[in-house]
C-alpha cells in the first residue's frame, strides 16, 4: 500500500487560547497550529508521533478527536467559513477542495450546513482605486472564477451553504463575474486598512446589487509553503518523514451566537500534499 499523500492540519478552537488571536491571520494560523501540535504532543502516549492519525490517503495532524461541537441549538449560530484557494494549485482541483474543506468544518462543529461561505482567490487583492485599467481582469481569470463559482452554486442548491461570499472584488471584477452566475453572491469581503475610505462607486454598486460589503483583516498570502515547512521542521520528531509539503487550501471557520454577538468557536484547517520519505 502506498503511504498517504495528503495531510490535514487542524488548530481546534482558538478563540480561548489567547494571544494568537491578536495577530494577522497568517501568524494566527501558524501560531495556533504550533500550539495545537504542542498540546497534542503533550497529551499523546509514549509513541512520538501517535497524535498524527491516518485515515485512507490522509494524515490528520493532530488526529480528529471527538470534537466538542457547538453548545447551543444550531439555529442560534451564524457560521461563516472562509476558504483560501492557494497559488499554484490547479483550478480544476477547487471543486474537490471546496467539498473537503467544508467536510472538515462540518465534522469539527458537528453541523451539516453553514450560513456563509466566502472564497478567496489567490493573487488578488482589493485596490481602492479599482477603476484603473491594471485591475481589469483578464478573460482567463474570469473563466477561472466562473468555474469555481459553479461549485458554490451547487453547494447552495444542495443546502450545504446558505449564502455565497466573494472577497477582494471591486466593481470591475464584479461586473465581469456577475453575468456568469445564476445565484448572486450575498457578500463581498474587502480588506481595507482604513474602512472609512471604501470607494463610493463600490458602495453604490454593492447597494444596487444587494451585496453586503464586509470587512476583514486577513492577509493575501495566508500560508506560504516555506512558512509551513518551517513549522514542520520545528516538530522534527513528528514530521521528520514529510517531504515536499505543498499547501493546497486553508479554511477558516467562525461560529458566532447571533443574538449575543459572542464568538464561541473559531479555527483553521489547512491541507497539503506530501511525499513520505521512509528512510
Amino acid at each position: 500500500m502506498s503511504p498517504p499523500s495528503l495531510v490535514v492540519f487542524r488548530t481546534g478552537n482558538i478563540i480561548i487560547t489567547g494571544r494568537t488571536s491578536l495577530e494577522k491571520s497568517n501568524q494566527e494560523l501558524l501560531n495556533s497550529l504550533r500550539q495545537n501540535f504542542e498540546d497534542a504532543a503533550s497529551r499523546a502516549t509514549s509513541e512520538q508521533s501517535s497524535w498524527i492519525e491516518v485515515k485512507g490517503d490522509t494524515f490528520y495532524a493532530p488526529g480528529i478527536e471527538e470534537p466538542d461541537g457547538l453548545s447551543e441549538e444550531r439555529s442560534e449560530y451564524d457560521i461563516t467559513v472562509k476558504l483560501f484557494y492557494l497559488p499554484g494549485v490547479f483550478v480544476s482541483k477547487r471543486r474537490d477542495h471546496t467539498r473537503e474543506a467544508l467536510q472538515n468544518v462540518f465534522r469539527e462543529l458537528r453541523v451539516s450546513s453553514i450560513d456563509l461561505l466566502i472564497i478567496s482567490f489567490p493573487n488578488i487583492s482589493f485596490d481602492a482605486e479599482d477603476h484603473s485599467p491594471d485591475t481589469e481582469p483578464t478573460q482567463e481569470e474570469v473563466d477561472e472564477w466562473a468555474e469555481t463559482y459553479q461549485t458554490l452554486e451547487t453547494l447552495q442548491l444542495e443546502g450545504q451553504i446558505k449564502r455565497i461570499g466573494l472577497s477582494e472584488f471591486g466593481v470591475a471584477r464584479l461586473l465581469k463575474l456577475l453575468p456568469r452566475t445564476s445565484i448572486k453572491p450575498s457578500v463581498d469581503q474587502i480588506n481595507v486598512r482604513d474602512c472609512c475610505v471604501v470607494p463610493k462607486p463600490l458602495i453604490q454598486f454593492a447597494r444596487e446589487q444587494r451585496i453586503e460589503l464586509l470587512t476583514h483583516n486577513d492577509c493575501t498570502n495566508i500560508l506560504p509553503s516555506s512558512a509551513l515547512q518551517g513549522l514542520l521542521q520545528e516538530n522534527h520528531l513528528a514530521f521528520g518523514g514529510f517531504k515536499n509539503v505543498d499547501p493546497q487550501w486553508v479554511v477558516k471557520y467562525t461560529a458566532v451566537i447571533q443574538d449575543r454577538g459572542v464568538v464561541e468557536n473559531k479555527g483553521y484547517f489547512a491541507m497539503a500534499k506530501v511525499d513520505i520519505d521512509r528512510t
Partner: protein, 530 residues
Amino acid sequence: MRASVRRVIAKQHMTKNETPITMTSFPRLGVPGAFTQPYYPPHGPIARSIFVPDEIINQHIRFPTLTANIRSRRGSKVCINLPVFYDEKTPNPFKDPTVQYDLSDYPEDGDVRNGAAKDGHVYMDAMGFGMGSCCLQITFQAKNISEARTLYDQLCPLGPIMLALSAASPIFKGYLTDIDCRWNIISGAVDDRTEEERGLKPLNENKYVIPKSRYDSVSTYISQDPGYRPEYNDVDIHQNLPLKQKLLDGGMDEPLAKHFAHLFIRDPLVIFSESINNYSVENNDNFENIQSTNWQHMRFKPPPSAEDAIGWRVEFRSMEVQLTDFENAAFSIFIVLLTRTILSYGLNFYIPISKVTENMETAHRRDAVLSEKFYFRKQVFPPRYANRSGKSSNASPGGSTSNTPKPVELGPVEDEYCLMTVNEIMNGQAGQDGFPGLITLIESYLNSVNVDVETRCELARYLDLIRKRSNGTWETAATWIRNFVHSHPDYEKDSCVNATVNYDLVKAAETLGNGEGKGTNLWKGLFEKR
C-alpha cells in the same frame, strides 16, 4: 454632526431660555445668590442646607423624604469636602468663604461650628449636590444568571479606569477643585451612616462599623467562574447574618448570599405604607427598596418578576456623562464591545477587590487619566487547556486519559497584577509579554465577526476617541472644562468660577451638545489636538 432627535424633542418642551445639556455637574450649584430661576433662598426645613433651597428637590414625596431621612438617620447633615484647586491668586490657606457659621434655625446649623467644613476644601452639605450630578450608566441583559455574575465581576475592575477616562466634573459650588470626578460627591451626599457606624464613637445603638457609604465601590465579587480565586475577595465585609442564613437555607450559594447579605446591612431610606400593609412574597418591592438604595459601581439586577421576560442584568455605573452625544455613544459602545470580547475570549480581569477600591480613589485625582497609575491584571487570557465551561479538555485519542495536562500552577495573587497607566490599559504595553490593550482586544474580536464596512467605520471613530483620550492626544471633559475656565478673560486665577465664566461654559456645552462648534476653538482639545 447635528443636534440629535432626542435633544430636538427635549428642546420643544422647554421655554426659550431653557436648553438640554449633558454636563456631569452644574458648576455653580449652591453658590450664594441666584443660581436657579426663579430664585429661592436656601436653608429650608427639609435639607437644612446653607447652600441649596428645598425647591430644587423633586416634588414627588419620595425625594424630600429621602433627603430628610438621610439627614435624620445620620444625626447631622451630610458632609462633603473637596480639596480646592490652588491657583496663583487663590487665598492660601483656603477657607470656604460661603460657609455661614452663625445660623441657628436648625440643630444641624451647629455642624459647621463643630468642624464640618475643612480648611483647604470646598464644603457641601446636602443630598442635592450628589443627586444634581449626572452619570452615564449602562445596563446589560445577560443570557442567564451565571453570565450576569461573570459580567458583574469582570466589569468591576474596569469601573475606576472608565471613571478616570470619562472624568467630566472639576467644578463644584463655583470652585475649581483638585478632583475631576463626581463619584465621591454622590457618595458623601447620601451617606446615612451614624457616627457609630462611621467608627467615630464606640458601637452602642448600632450593630456594625461600616467602612463605606451606601453609594460606593463594589466590595465583593459574586461569580463562580474557574478564574476566580478566594484571594480576590480580600475585604472582610459586614453581612446581615440571619438574612444570609435564610438565603443559604433556601439554596443560594455562598458568594451570592454574601452579596445580598451585604446589601441588607442598610436600613430602608423610604418605605411607603402600602408596601408594608399589602406585603406579599410575590411582590419584590421591599427587596427593590434596599437593592436600589445601594448604589455601588456595579449593580446585579435579578429579573423584576417571574412573569416578566426581562432576565438577569448587570449595570455598569461609574462613568461620567459626556458633553456630546457622540462621546456618550463612544463610551457606551466601548463597554458593549468589551462585554462581547470578554465573553468570546473568556477574559479574566480579576484583581483583589481592595485594589479596585484603591483605584476608585486614584481615579478622582486631577488628570488621573494621564498622571496616575492603576492596579490592573497582566495576563487576561484563560490558561490553555481550559475550555468554555471550565472543565479541562483532555480528550486524548483512543480514550487514554494518562498523561493529561497538568493543571496550571497558580502563583501568588500579587504577581498577577501591576500598576498601569490608562493609556497602557487601553492601548497596550510595549513588548511581547506586555498587556495587549483593551482596544487591541476589541479590534481582534471585531476581526472575528462579520461587520459591514459602514458599521466598522463608525466603530473605528468611537474606538479612536477612546484611544486618543487615553493617550492624551485629546482631553477629557474635565481637562477641557479646566482649560476653558483658565483661558476665559473673566477668570481671575483665584479658583472661583464666576457667573460670566459659568454662563459661557454652559453655552459652550449647549453648542457642543447640539453637534455644533466644529472648526471653532470649542473643538480644540476635545476632538482636535490643542
